[in-house]
């Protein structure tokens, strides 16, 4: 889950940095020893590479190429589709939707590593037990993993295992062989999962990096230092890691036989995305990631041809993109290609429904939605790189409702003024000043704050902004003392459930429903929908729920950002991909062309 803060998100989007293109690549002139090397950047330092603890996008961007999960998203097909990765096939689901049986490939081995003492360093074969072991590590309370939410209350006997770990004093004494009824290795290559109640989203979880298998040999050998010694099954191994500065991945020589996909969406062939069809992955030998946290050096490195891929820094936007929203001739001449794509991201200003002034005053919340000129807001603060939000779901979601219309989610200051009169009546007197909690003190935060203050002054609502650092603002949101605050949600997986859970009553603060929206009918539908597999009925249910939210308006919806990313024409097989990690294996580099371009 990535609860993001609007301002951070806007900045991230301006830079073209998000999960989908976190693994930006970048190329200097020639490859050493004739290898195909890809040069790229990370926008922040990576923390550690233990799947159990991975939570941040940067660590995921690296870890996703070292570790594999049972399933992965098809690289080219849209809408996004899960395909087997370490699994040999899609799971067999029992009649009651509670038992999943997953066959596991028998040609997968872990990296060669000194931790495999029995085989003198040779990586051993992957078994079903490795998954159960990895997940038990997450369950072990002594490990304080942030990823327990994945399994919390889902799998038969697993919560009991967690309870058991609480009784153990020393982390080292936790017995991982203790059976869990719902997690069984039927044989070395057959894994069975039993759920407490139907949970179709399980399949997405099995494509989520923290569920990647980890060999117990590595954990025993490296202890806590496992986070610096990743032993996975993925296409790349960690060759070098200069903390805070550089990460080098190189081809895993024992990687199984995986091939570049042979089919995609219409247009992919024409775009050259199928040129490498059927070739063995990974296509490159090496990938170097520089940690560059500032715009200017990243941009200059890209301009110098030292990077394959970049976002567009805010300050250079006008130089790069012309008024027709296309690349400027200067950029085209350099062989730069622009990709624009939607992200599974919605931004809004959350309203604390437990606030005595706002929570009970629907006309006030409507008026606040009506007073905001979203087009202007997007132009001012996102370089026009977003579409105004009309609902919660971004258009890429299968459940997106193109007909969804609310009379209150558009710009109509006159109507807002009228509604404020009614709001006053409900409040029983003049409305007090509404205070926004802004988690940022930089100039962008202040500009946004001033803009919103002006916006609401214009319709006669007293509005003020309190600026503070991000953690402090998060605290205020979590302890329900914030009235209005910037929020956003970047979906973890392409299922509407991931957005709707933000409005589910029991998820209230400090859970993800920080608006503390409570609607008994919605909650009932959510529980019902959560156990349903994809179907037209489910879609109807989702759309009904979305409608309920925009009726009650526990937020001021703003926008769905659109990402702009650049790459040089020698970086091949670039297709925006917004779910999952580990797409490095598909990328290719035209080393010749890069060399020519760089040597003129």
């Amino acid at each position: 889950m990535k609860t993001l803060h609007t301002i951070q998100l806007i900045i991230i989007c301006l830079m073209g940095m998000h999960a989908g293109c976190g693994q930006e690549a970048s190329p200097p002139s020639s490859s050493p020893e004739g290898l195909v090397v890809r040069y790229s950047t990370l926008s922040s330092k990576i923390r550690g590479l233990d799947p159990m603890d991975i939570g941040d996008t940067t660590s995921s961007a690296i870890g996703g190429n070292i570790f594999d999960c049972l399933y992965q998203y098809h690289y080219l097909k849209r809408p996004y589709q899960l395909i087997p990765n370490l699994a040999a096939a899609m799971p067999t689901v029992s009649e009651d939707s509670l038992t999943y049986t997953i066959p596991i490939r028998d040609d997968v081995v872990f990296f060669d590593d000194e931790c495999f003492k029995a085989t003198s360093g040779k990586g051993r074969g992957l078994t079903a037990a490795d998954f159960i072991y990895a997940w038990k590590r997450i369950a072990n309370i002594k490990n304080v993993s942030k990823n327990w939410w994945i399994f919390d209350g889902r799998i038969v006997g697993f919560d009991e295992f967690r309870e058991y770990t609480k009784t153990i004093k020393d982390k080292a004494d936790v017995d991982y062989s203790k059976p869990v009824e719902g997690l069984v290795a039927l044989n070395d290559h057959l894994l069975q999962i039993k759920l407490k109640k139907p949970w179709p989203q399980l399949q997405f979880m099995l494509a989520h990096l923290p569920t990647a298998p980890v060999p117990h040999e590595a954990v025993n050998h490296y202890g806590e230092e496992i986070l610096n010694h990743p032993v996975g099954t993925g296409p790349f191994i960690l060759e070098d890691w200069k903390r805070g500065s550089k990460i080098i991945l190189s081809r895993n020589p024992t990687f199984r036989d995986e091939r570049y996909p042979s089919e995609g969406e219409p247009g992919d062939k024409e775009a050259g995305l199928l040129t490498d069809a059927g070739k063995r992955l990974p296509l490159i030998d090496r990938a170097e990631f520089l940690v560059i946290q500032e715009d200017q050096p990243r941009w200059l490195k890209f301009m110098a041809g030292d990077l394959d891929v970049a976002g567009i820094p805010k300050d250079s936007f006008d130089k790069v993109i012309n008024t027709n929203r296309q690349l400027t001739p200067e950029m085209l001449a350099k062989g730069i290609i622009l990709t624009k794509y939607q992200t599974p991201l919605t931004l809004w200003y959350g309203i604390n429904m437990e606030d005595p002034i706002l929570g009970t005053n629907l006309p006030l919340r409507r008026a606040m939605n009506l007073a905001l000129n979203r087009k202007e807001y997007i132009k001012l603060f996102a370089n026009d790189r977003a579409i105004p939000a009309r609902g919660i779901l971004p258009a890429m979601f299968g459940d997106f409702n193109p007909e969804l219309v609310s009379p209150y989610i558009n710009y109509d200051p006159q109507k807002a003024k009228q509604l404020l009169v009614e709001a006053q009546r409900i409040h029983g007197g003049p409305l007090p000043t509404i205070t926004m909690t802004m988690g940022g003190t930089d100039s962008t935060a202040r500009q946004i704050g001033q803009y919103l203050t002006r916006t609401y002054k214009a319709v006669g609502l007293n509005f003020q902004v309190e600026y503070m650092d991000w953690p402090t603002s998060q605290d205020k949101v979590k302890n329900k003392s914030a009235q209005i605050y910037a929020m956003g949600w970047y979906a973890d997986y392409p299922d509407s459930e991931n957005f709707l859970l933000l409005f589910y009553g029991p998820n209230g603060s400090p859970g993800p429903n920080n608006m503390n929206y409570k609607n008994a009918e919605f909650d009932e539908l959510f529980e019902q929908m959560g156990t349903m597999p994809s179907s037209p009925e489910r879609k109807a249910l989702v759309q009904k729920m979305e409608q309920m939210v925009i009726e009650d308006l526990p937020c001021i919806l703003t926008s769905h950002p659109i990402a702009f990313a650049l790459h040089y024409n020698w970086a091949l097989n670039r297709k925006p991909h917004v779910f999952g990690e580990g797409h490095l294996k598909y990328g290719n580099i035209d080393v010749e062309r890069r060399h020519k371009a760089k040597t003129g």
Partner: protein, 326 residues
Amino acid sequence: MWNYVVRRLLYTPLIVIGVLLVTFLLFVVVQGDLSTEIAGRSASAETIAEIRAEYGWDKPLFINIEGMKQHGIEALFDSQFVKHFVDTVTFDFGRSRASKQRISELLWDGAGPSLCLTLPMFVGLLSTSLSIALIIAFARGTIWDTILVVICVLGMSLPSLAFILLGQYFLAYKLGWFPIFGYEPGWSGAKFLTLPVLIGIIAGLGSDVRFYRTVMLDEIRADYIRTAYAKGVSTRRVLFVHLLKNALIPVITSVVLAIPFLFLGSLLLERFFGIPGLGYMMIEAIGNRDFKVISAMTFIISVLFVFGNLATDICYALVDPRISLH
């Protein structure tokens, strides 16, 4: 003097306890509980209680009366602060809460690059600005003095970010004299460090030269300078022998107080030129509420400060015979 040094060193534990106590109060007591944040989505009261127990946050802050009642007197000190204090002073900083990396390793890995950047910068800045200040002091009242002072004021009024942006754009990107970005340990890293060091020196010159110029001008009007000239001493010798040693006292103050911060690196330069130092670590740690990291850094800096102050006093005594340490 040794008496004095020993006495001062005996104060160190007191200062360290004070510093640890203040950071502890600020970050543990004031900021409250992080267990909900750690629990993430599965933030049930039960999980939170477990997490608190895991991190020892369920223990009393200072003294454990309950523990003593149950387990005897030795349990009295089974408290958060005592554990924190013992861990810190034994340099067992533990692991960062945010990244789970070993803090001593983070510090060790970061201190090298930071010092590679800040030490040459510091030495370069100090010698350059002292020399320029001496030249100005010698040329006082002439057009050169005016020109240099105007340049200094201009330099001071430009934010260092401007020097970084311009330097990186023109010298590294346009002219290609330096690499744009990067770092390597050892001598091969010198090419990466040259530009940031230069920029650091140039960005700092304005204020340093102005400060040292004032110091020098105060001294150059002194009677002993006239005496030296009257003896037939050359200008160079007057400046570097007579004036400099007298001017060293204010210089030492500013220099020694700066040294602990060298260890912290330079935030902007490190970020813009990709030097994996400690410059951003403190800010990141505050953002992440990574109390152990903050506390470890505060501890090291305060210890460096204590020694820095002692070094200042010793330097004073070495430079100025009128000062004696008792």
